[in-house]
């Protein structure tokens, strides 16, 4: 029993990270209105940035998160300029393929400049353990879950209680209409994209702290997880995407407990496909913006 609870905690932690990735992802898709394949790479760039900060300015977690956020923000600008700006009126698949190209570009450049090998990220946080009966949870896991929840709430506030949030939502719902009422759609879209990427960067850093390693080739798989998580959440809905992330994380880990880790992605994507079969738009009732 405790064993399963322990596994549940692992799943929860994993899921929390997926959730954070998914939140960023769904902000991007929601506001820009186009699907991206670059999210994984963007996240890893954030992680690398803060890795180098840790190298030269000592391990200061807060600083690390800020740097990761900003680095990915900048990446977001590039992504926007390259993959979105000129494709708002084009068929969707074009910008999609463009993002695929961009992610290939970033991934390989990263391999060239940072090397293909794993780079250790040790002792960023000193880990303590708390025992509740036979089940244990580490301070790192608590930190991750807390941070994710906090960010999710903050984002929710920004989205639904600030002027900026209203602009973001208006753009995500109807670009033309937003334009009519005098919102600078392209600028807002870019900002939204950057916010999403920034959150991705934080997620990236968290992942690397959790796995204690950063590697240029990590991005692809993570990006796909983020993608599937936010698809589960209906692609554009922040809260449901977070839920999707959690679900995938838990399903994965519980699946692994009964079989083997070789089936991890089988569980993740199998679950996704199953949900899509029965609820074609994921957890949400109806899709927000048409993507």
């Amino acid at each position: 029993m405790e064993y399963f609870l322990n596994q549940l905690i692992n799943g929860l932690c994993q899921g929390a990270i997926y959730a954070l990735m998914a939140i960023g992802y769904s902000v991007v898709v929601g506001v820009v209105g186009m699907v991206t394949f670059t999210h994984g790479e963007v996240m890893i760039m954030g992680a690398f940035a803060s890795y180098y900060v840790f190298q030269y300015c000592g391990t200061n977690l807060i600083l690390g998160f800020i740097v990761a956020f900003l680095a990915s923000w900048v990446m977001g600008i590039f992504v926007y300029k390259v993959c979105y700006e000129r494709f708002f009126n084009s068929p969707r698949h074009i910008s999609l393929l463009c993002t695929i190209g961009f992610s290939m570009l970033v991934k390989n450049l990263a391999q060239i400049f940072f090397g293909p090998n794993q780079i250790p990220m040790l002792n960023i946080v000193d880990i303590k353990f708390f025992h509740i009966g036979a089940m244990q949870i580490s301070s790192l896991q608590i930190m991750i879950i807390a941070l994710v929840v906090g960010l999710a709430l903050a984002l929710n506030y920004v989205f639904y209680h600030t002027k900026f949030g209203v602009m973001l939502r208006s753009v995500s719902q109807d670009k033309t209409a937003a334009y009519m009422v005098g919102i600078n759609v392209k600028r807002i879209a870019m900002l939204g994209n950057c916010v999403g990427c920034g959150l991705g960067g934080i997620a990236g850093l968290l992942i690397c702290i959790y796995y204690q390693v950063v590697q240029a080739t990590m991005g692809g798989a993570l990006g796909m997880k983020a993608f599937s998580a936010s698809v589960l959440g209906g692609l554009t809905d922040v809260r449901f995407s977070a839920l999707g992330g959690l679900c995938i994380g838990i399903v994965e880990n519980l699946g692994i407990t009964v079989t083997s880790a070789s089936y991890r992605d089988v569980f993740a994507f199998g679950f996704l496909i199953l949900v899509l079969v029965f609820k074609p738009t994921g957890f949400v009732k109806k899709r927000g913006t048409k993507v």
Binding site: Y3, N6, Q7, N10, G11, C13, Q14, Q111, G115, P116, N117, Q118, P120, L122, N123, I127, F129, Q136, S138, L140, I207, Y210, Y211, Q212, V213, T217, M218, A221, N253, I256, T257, S260, A261, S262, R264
Partner: protein, 388 residues
């Protein structure tokens, strides 16, 4: 229809580019006073996840070639190495192997790194009757695939039993262990052999889990293993060992760790820091600080590569010497078949120890027990297993 002709033109250009070749090296070598040149193809993942090892191959082999040529070459012939990047991708590897096979100047192929690539190349080298001598392929099925396939890493079914019998049961004196291994051709066969050996040695495997390449999160696996409460954990992998170790410690599980695969890799210690303290592992070969020429070799390598060598480049180094020995004993008419025959027949002692191929083209190695003590690999000779 413009497109059709466009296609035609592209094709023509393309084929022209393919057929164009020619070389001046022969004359250059003659001028230097060699009888001629003998080319050896070197395959390795110079890029990609295993790049570290591929680069190791390149440098190790080049060091060997330089030494041989400095000493008057292999039987008067200058050895020229042609390193190519297989990226650890079987398709890529096969193409490059074909390329080597076509080039009649190339007398032998050293490589590839992974067993998968080597096995993909086996039919090709078998057709071309050219030696494929892999420094590192340890899949038991590999060498048997063709008369022209050789490996000097020592097979899984050599190392794993040693590990079970001597390290686990004798040296550590344990009865219950847990096993985590990578689900790749290497890992699976390693685990397989370990299981059988463990059964013979009376060691019980209370839990075993596996994972695929590029796995990053081991927490649930570790929880699983922890639940079985073993006396020690054995990790079978090259790439992810460091992560497993770190995550085991990150989950506050202080269990004796042993690993089968990475050998005495400096990178491993770099990646794990204090976490790998006390890690026990087996290695066919160890850069023993007591042996000066080994240290020289290590330093020379480090100058060229800017990182410390594992066992793999050392094996690659030996491969070149093996080939050159084979060439020597070929006498004057050096042929691919000739090299194969002599390679199979010869006996040679390289820096990684004595090498004598069995009928299949594999060798059985003697292994050392190492342990990590304050960030250094230390050879433990707890008892003399070789006597048994």
């Amino acid at each position: 229809m413009k497109k059709l002709s466009m296609l035609l033109i592209v094709l023509l250009v393309f084929s022209m580019a393919l057929f164009a070749n020619g070389n001046k090296e022969e004359e250059a070598a003659k001028a230097e006073g060699f009888k001629g040149i003998i080319k050896i193809g070197v395959l390795g993942p110079l890029t990609g996840t295993n790049a570290e090892y591929g680069v190791g191959f390149k440098i190790g082999t080049q060091m060997a070639a330089d030494r041989i040529n400095a000493a008057g070459g292999a039987n008067g012939y200058k050895l020229v190495l042609i390193p190519k990047d297989s990226k650890g991708d079987p398709k890529e590897s096969s193409d490059l192997t074909r390329q080597f096979c076509d080039d009649s100047d190339i007398m032998a192929i050293i490589g590839d790194f992974t067993s998968g690539c080597c096995m993909a190349n086996a039919p090709i080298v078998d057709d071309a009757k050219i030696v494929q001598l892999s420094p590192t392929a340890s899949n038991p099925k590999y060498a048997g695939m063709s008369d022209y396939c050789f490996s000097i890493m020592g097979r899984q079914d050599g190392e794993a039993p040693f590990f079970a019998k001597y390290i686990i049961s004798k040296y550590m004196g344990l009865k219950k262990i847990a096993m985590i291994y990578i689900n790749s051709d290497w890992g699976v066969s390693a685990a397989e052999n370990f299981r059988t050996a463990a059964r013979d040695a009376g060691v019980e495997i209370v839990a075993e889990v596996n994972y695929v390449q590029d796995e990053k999160d081991f927490s649930s696996l570790i929880t699983k293993l922890k639940a079985a409460d073993p006396e020690a954990l054995i990790i079978m992998d090259q790439g992810a060992v460091a992560q497993v170790i770190n995550q085991v410690r990150a989950m506050g599980w202080d269990i004796p760790l042993t690993t089968l695969g990475p050998g005495t890799s400096e990178q491993l210690i770099g990646l794990t820091g204090a976490n790998s303290e006390g890690l026990i592992l087996s290695t066919p070969f160890f850069f023993d600080p007591q042996v000066p020429e080994l240290m020289d070799w290590k330093n020379e390598f480090n100058e060229k590569a800017k990182f410390n060598p594992t066992v793999h480049p050392a094996c690659a180094f030996d491969c070149v010497y093996l080939i050159s020995e084979a060439i020597k004993s070929c006498g004057d008419d050096v042929t691919r078949e000739g090299i194969r025959e002599n390679l199979a027949r010869n006996q040679y002692t390289g820096i990684t120890g004595p090498i004598k191929f069995n009928a299949e083209g594999d060798i059985t190695r003697a292994y050392l027990i190492c342990q990590v003590e304050n960030g250094q690999y230390v050879v433990k000779k707890g008892f003399d297993y070789s006597a048994e």
